[in-house]
């Protein structure tokens, strides 16, 4: 039925998963940095962070990816003074992570705000350092508040990976199009792709439910 293209499509799905996974890791880091920026003591840093986040969230994802893909190499080359290659995969991960991070910083921000300030004060009074307070008091609790929001963003991220086919990555979407170009069966292959995405998103949702239960087990 798939005229020999199924292995290729599964290979594409594998690349999609890798992309999503690396983007998630980097995106979480970006998100934490973005949240920290919004809590900064300096107004200028707060302003710049918010401007940056609003810009990323306001532009179409495709546009952000294009800007990173074409602009990234140009910028890095300019900064380094000699040619540096930013591969499609890295551009894709970077772009997706920036988008994820921009939204995640909002999630983190409200999650940290949800941790009562009195706890930090108490910890401070006990002589804990700022880093200790962050690591041992704020982060574990904020994490629990942030999980549902991050779960939704992960689903968005998984679906956004489809856009990297437009910057030349051999992901699920790209492989689907390649298969269609020889078999001329658009419905069959796009529907198969849709089902694979459905499997990925549903599986994620199940995992998220488990994760959520784990994070909240002390409340049960």
């Amino acid at each position: 039925m798939f005229e020999g293209y199924l292995p290729q499509i599964l290979a594409g799905a594998w690349l999609t998963m890798q992309l999503a996974f690396f983007s998630l890791l980097l995106g979480l880091v970006f998100g934490l940095i973005g949240a920290a920026g919004q809590f900064s003591r300096y107004r200028i840093i707060r302003r710049i962070t918010i401007l940056f986040i609003t810009s990323i969230c306001g532009m179409p994802e495709l546009l952000v990816l294009f800007i990173i893909y074409f602009g990234g190499t140009a910028l890095v080359t300019y900064l380094a003074g000699h040619y540096v290659d930013v591969s499609s995969f890295v551009s894709g991960v970077l772009g997706l992570a920036l988008i994820f991070g921009a939204y995640a910083s909002q999630v983190f921000r409200s999650a940290f705000l949800a941790v009562p300030f009195g706890q930090s004060e108490a910890a401070h009074a006990l002589g804990l350092s700022r880093w200790q307070i962050f690591k041992n008091i704020q982060l574990p609790q904020a994490w629990r508040h942030a999980l549902p929001g991050l779960g939704n963003l992960w689903l968005v991220l998984l679906k956004d990976t489809a856009l990297v086919s437009l910057i030349g990555l051999a992901d699920l979407m790209n492989k689907t199009q390649v298969a269609i170009s020889t078999t001329q069966k658009p419905f069959l292959f796009y529907f198969t792709a849709a089902l694979i995405y459905l499997v990925l998103t549903s599986f994620s949702q199940i995992c998220m439910k488990k994760l959520n239960m784990g994070a909240n087990r002390h409340l049960a």
């Binding site: 495709l62 800007i67 679906k159 489809a162 856009l163 658009p186 419905f187 459905l198 998103t201």
Partner: protein
């Protein structure tokens, strides 16, 4: 700079197409969502299951796949091309609109469902006690309350749809993104034009969010009056 001025008319026409896409997707999406939300909340499985399945599919798959399925997928079948559906499906603009509208509809149902659930139960009970019918209660009390609750979240949905219109350029539509790609391909000045398009999208965002903020103020006007 010369390039930019020279291509300004094209950019403006692209902007027009983007806006047209956004509105022609949002209006049917809202209407359909209002019709389907009661079905999604129904106790009867034969009513709620199809709607749930629809939401599951639309939320679990990328919009790009949905657009391609509707545009290229539909054309694979002779019987589709022979049917009355083809009048709409042969036009790329209609295909993009359908995909965007169905997508937005699914998300709007979810928003509405959540909002309706958060309307205090006592208010509804009070209505019944006053002798209002189920429909009247829904129409006059629950729905207006729910709409007020979802306004902030709905503004995000509108922004998402605005951003999503950029995918229409993959099916030959010359929206803002399509025009930008075209100009970038002609002039090879890729990065400046990407930034111009980005600035236009951000400006549109600002307009949408401001409009919603004033709408929220007006919808919640009783809150301000009460506090005075």
């Amino acid at each position: 700079m010369n390039d930019i001025i020279q291509h300004l008319p094209e950019l403006i026409s692209g902007l027009g197409v983007t806006l047209a896409l956004m509105f022609s997707a949002l209006v049917p999406a809202i209407i359909l969502a209002l019709l389907l939300t009661p079905a999604a909340r129904s106790k009867h499985l034969w009513l709620s299951l199809p709607v749930d399945g629809f939401i599951f599919f639309m939320r679990g798959t990328p919009l790009l796949v949905q657009i391609f399925l509707i545009y290229y997928g539909s054309a694979q079948f002779e019987w589709v091309r022979a049917s009355f559906l083809w009048v709409a499906l042969r036009e790329p603009f209609a295909c993009a609109t359908i995909a965007l509208a169905l997508n937005s509809c699914a998300y709007t149902i979810v928003l509405l469902k959540g909002a309706i659930q958060s309307v205090p139960r006592e208010e509804i009970t009070a209505c019944y006690a006053l002798g209002m019918s189920q429909f009247l209660t829904f129409w006059r009390i629950t729905l207006p309350r729910a709409i007020r609750i979802i306004l902030p979240a709905y503004s995000n949905e509108v922004v998402i749809i605005l951003k999503s219109t950029s995918l229409a350029n993959t099916i030959t539509i010359l929206d803002l993104m399509g025009v930008t790609n075209k100009i970038a391909g002609e002039t090879y000045a890729v990065i400046p034009f990407l930034f111009i398009a980005g600035a236009i999208y951000l400006a549109l965002n600002f307009v949408i969010l401001s409009a919603f903020r004033s709408l929220e103020k007006r919808a919640n006007v009783y809150l301000y009056q009460a506090s005075q």
